[in-house]
């Protein structure tokens, strides 16, 4: 998988195809209603060019001719995330027709799905700021359609929060991007900008703004408010791609925009602190949740916190290898988290028969997130070991694994009750197969890719590694057992402080009424006339 300087000419085209193929299908379903029934069963094909690009097109670049100036490029971290995202989209695309049935033949389902997919694929291959922003916006905003797909009041409510935070994040991101571009003298190619970043003026505010934008996508506290209600409201296949693939737009942002080759201590430490806070906050609140979907959402908040912490520590230390580690960790999370949502889909349609074959992989994959030895998750944890280093970051890392174990055990207890009312029901084979596929991917693919990211099999299997990863799991199990003794554990609504913020809604209405009152006052003839005179005098006076 070494970059090949003499790529066949069709290979760069794969990059373009990764984003254009879903868009083409989108255009197709928009224009020709006749294709929709067929397309519904073929949605799993849409991410395949992305997968092919991830496998074959590393180190390829495409730039569209001026004046478009849009560019695509793929490197190893990008390929890891692109490939894994393509796979979860593929698995979810197999699940979707079985889950939604007839509904998937309608335009809204297909359009939102394909639009989000297009953004999700493009964001990993975007080589310039505008393309990145476009893809980031597309995956975020089109995701709204997936969150609210059920159309229930709760879903619409969750959708509003989702949209508000997505747009807020984009505003930060855009301001940050403009600053980045200014710092590099009007440059918009990401590679050139990051290369010039250490010497750029206003680097710190630019990176802070970009990080705030990414944080909203990653669900770092307090910009996480959207995640639990959205995943809770989204149908399982949608939740799978949102948590598995869409969130990784934030991860690729951490990969692309932070100048890991130059140590930036303050910024890195601050990011790490924010990450660790999210990692533990997610677990703490996740334990108060009553629905497995919400628990998984809080687990995502926690895991993205870990990734942010790794990125921050690497930035502080100037570790140039961080992008690959982050992407590798993210890859595992794609399969594990996306897969678990698919597992819930399968379990919810299954009664007693064949349940064990579905549930045991759930146990392994869930604990894999906490780093259960020999799983793919263990490799992911080992990959970030160097970044955590020693001292308090290392301790916090291990403690977060303990916390994750507790949270995953909580998830497993809740998942046992997810079942079909019909005791003899069995989920369609497509759904079961998709889950098993993702479980397999989460367990095996990290092993297969280990050499590619420079890991060594020997050290992964070394007894010291097993101990290091094993004790947090055991401690977590013990802690969970203790926790079970606590009878009246608090139960918080998904979105925790969202409920507090919601209480401010009347205040918002008052603000809006206040604006209307101001408007009413100003649109009075006499007032407007007086302002006109005032403006004339002020303008003349201001210049004299």
């Amino acid at each position: 998988m070494t970059p090949d300087a003499t790529l066949p000419p069709f290979v760069p085209l794969l990059l373009a195809l990764a984003s254009l193929f879903p868009l083409g299908l989108l255009a197709l379903t928009l224009a020709f209603p006749g294709v929709r029934p067929r397309l519904a069963t073929l949605l799993w094909l849409a991410p395949l060019p992305g997968l092919a690009a991830a496998v074959f097109a590393q180190a390829a670049t495409v730039s569209l001719p001026t004046p478009l100036e849009l560019g695509l490029a793929l490197d190893r971290p990008g390929a890891l995330l692109l490939g894994s995202a393509a796979l979860i989209w593929c698995a979810a695309g197999i699940t979707a027709p079985a889950w939604w049935g007839e509904k998937l033949r309608s335009l809204p389902y297909q359009a939102w799905w394909l639009a989000t997919l297009a953004g999700s694929m493009t964001v990993f291959v975007a080589a310039d700021l505008v393309t990145f922003y476009l893809a980031f916006s597309l995956v975020s905003l089109a995701g709204y359609g997936l969150v609210t797909r059920d159309g229930t009041p709760a879903a619409l409510k969750a959708g509003r929060v989702y949209f508000a935070l997505a747009v807020t994040g984009e505003a930060f991101l855009l301001s940050g991007f403009v600053l980045l571009s200014i710092g590099a003298g009007g440059e918009t190619r990401i590679a050139a900008i990051v290369a010039a970043l250490p010497s750029a003026p206003l680097m710190a505010p630019a990176l802070v703004l970009v990080l705030l934008g990414l944080a909203a996508k990653l669900g770092l506290v307090p910009l996480h408010l959207w995640m639990p209600p959205s995943y809770g409201a989204a149908p399982y296949p949608a939740a799978a791609v949102l948590s598995g693939a869409a969130v990784k737009a934030g991860v690729i942002g951490l990969v692309r925009f932070l100048p890991y080759e130059t140590p930036l201590e303050t910024l890195g430490t601050a990011l790490a602190a924010a990450g660790f806070f999210s990692a533990f906050f997610g677990v703490a609140i996740g334990l108060t949740q009553r629905h497995p979907k919400h628990v998984l959402a809080y687990s995502s908040i926690s895991q993205m916190g870990v990734i942010a912490a790794v990125a921050g520590l690497s930035l502080a230390a100037g570790r140039a290898v961080a992008p690959t580690e982050i992407a590798y960790y993210g890859l595992h999370h794609v399969f594990a988290k996306g897969g678990l949502f698919l597992a819930l889909a399968a379990l919810s349609m299954t009664g007693n028969r064949g349940r064990a074959a579905l549930f045991w992989p759930v146990v392994i994959v869930a604990l894999g997130i906490a780093g259960l030895p020999l799983t793919g998750g263990a490799l992911a944890k080992l990959a970030i070991k160097d970044a955590l280093g020693s001292g308090w970051p290392k301790t916090l890392g291990s403690l977060s694994a303990v916390a994750s174990t507790v949270l995953m055990l909580h998830f497993l207890t809740l998942a046992t009750v997810v079942r079909s009312r019909d005791a003899s029901a069995v989920a369609p084979v497509a759904i079961r197969a998709a889950w098993w596929g993702m479980a397999l991917a989460s367990l095996a693919l990290p092993w297969l890719l280990l050499p590619a990211v420079g890991g060594s099999l020997a050290s992964a299997l070394a007894p010291s590694s097993l101990v290091e990863l094993g004790w947090p799991i055991l401690a977590g199990v013990a802690l969970f057992a203790l926790l079970r003794l606590w009878r009246n554990r608090p139960s918080l609504p998904p979105g925790d402080i969202l409920a507090v913020i919601r209480r401010g809604e009347p205040w918002l209405a008052r603000l809006s009424n206040g604006v209307a009152a101001i408007e009413g006052f100003l649109t009075d003839w006499t007032v407007a006339g007086a302002v006109l005179l005032l403006l004339a005098l002020a303008l003349a006076g201001a210049m004299l």
Binding site: T526, G529, A530, L533, L534, A536, L537, A540
Partner: protein, 307 residues
């Protein structure tokens, strides 16, 4: 002596203006405004601007006065919600500040006063006109005049647009009361021919002396309205083909001669040497006819009855 007269006129004008603003009832205010127009005409003559004085009398005071009077009679006075004292003080202060700024500019003029009089004089001979204002309007700034004609035409269409759908293409104003005797028809029969002669004369002398198409057209329009009010002629249907040609004739001649100037005289709205005065006169005549029709119809208002 002259200064005392000027001071008197100025004070009177300001007094009437203030009274018009303060007047309790709308109609009184309109009357005040008509008086204001008349006294302003006097001011214009004192400033030596006879062309402007004529225009002010004919249009600023006259035609505007007529429509304002009509409106004053038709419109129920709005229940005057008097502004609060605070608002009055504030707005008064702001207005006074603007006035003070202007007064400062008036009191501190640049030395010497800038003027284009010399340039106007220099080129006037080449236009064949004797009246410098005619030169400005028909030659140097002919584009302004052309556009202004379009503005008047647009205003007429705008006025028509405010009629009701059912009356579209119909005649403006109430139907004439047939067979009405009395002083007005008699008066009109005498005045209208005289007015028409005066109007034409004002256009004619406009080339060399104060006067011109706008003033003349206003007088002609006034005669048409007078004749209409007296029942001598009926207001034409606004959809009439002949009427539309009458309205368009002026602008068409203007733009036609203007465009002909491109090949013949090297520029849009330039006149071939030697033909300046006749061409300008042709334009003026055509414009006068059209403008008179436009002004009369603007004053007559939107169609109010079917064809």
């Amino acid at each position: 002596m002259g200064l005392i007269l000027d001071g008197g006129i100025a004070l009177l004008t300001i007094g009437i203006a203030a009274w018009t603003i303060r007047a309790a009832d709308d109609f009184a205010a309109v009357v005040g405004f008509v008086a204001y127009g008349l006294i302003l005409t006097l001011a214009w003559t004192r400033l030596g601007a006879y062309d402007v004085a004529l225009t002010e009398a004919a249009i600023g005071g006259g035609a505007t006065g007529v429509i304002l009077m009509r409106a004053g009679a038709r419109v129920k006075p709005a229940p005057a919600a008097r502004a609060s004292k605070r608002a009055r003080i504030l707005v008064g202060a702001l207005s006074a500040a603007v006035a003070a700024g202007l007064a400062a500019i008036v009191l501190l003029p640049p030395e010497p006063a800038p003027s284009l009089a010399l340039e106007v004089r220099e080129h006037l001979a080449s236009t064949g006109l004797g009246n410098p204002i005619g030169g400005v309007l028909m030659a140097y700034r002919a584009a302004d005049t052309f556009l202004e004609t379009v503005v008047v035409l647009l205003a007429l269409f705008g006025v028509w647009s405010l009629g009701r759908d059912a009356h579209w293409g119909g005649r403006p104003g109430p139907a004439p009361r047939a067979g009405e005797g009395g002083a007005l028809p008699l008066f009109a029969r005498v005045l209208v021919p005289a007015g028409i002669v005066i109007g034409i004369y004002i256009v004619w002398v406009g080339a060399d002396a104060p006067g011109g198409k706008f003033q003349g057209a206003t007088i002609l329009a006034a005669m048409a309205i007078l004749a209409g009010m007296a029942g001598l002629v009926e207001a034409p249907a606004t959809s009439g083909r002949r009427l539309r040609w009458l309205l368009s004739a002026g602008p068409i001649v203007f733009v036609g001669i203007g465009l002909a100037g491109i090949p013949l005289a090297g520029a849009f709205l330039a006149y071939p040497p030697g033909f300046e005065k006749p061409l300008i006169l042709v334009i003026e005549v055509a414009l006068t006819v059209s403008l008179a029709a436009m002004l009369a119809l603007i004053v007559a208002g939107p169609p109010e009855r079917a064809k």
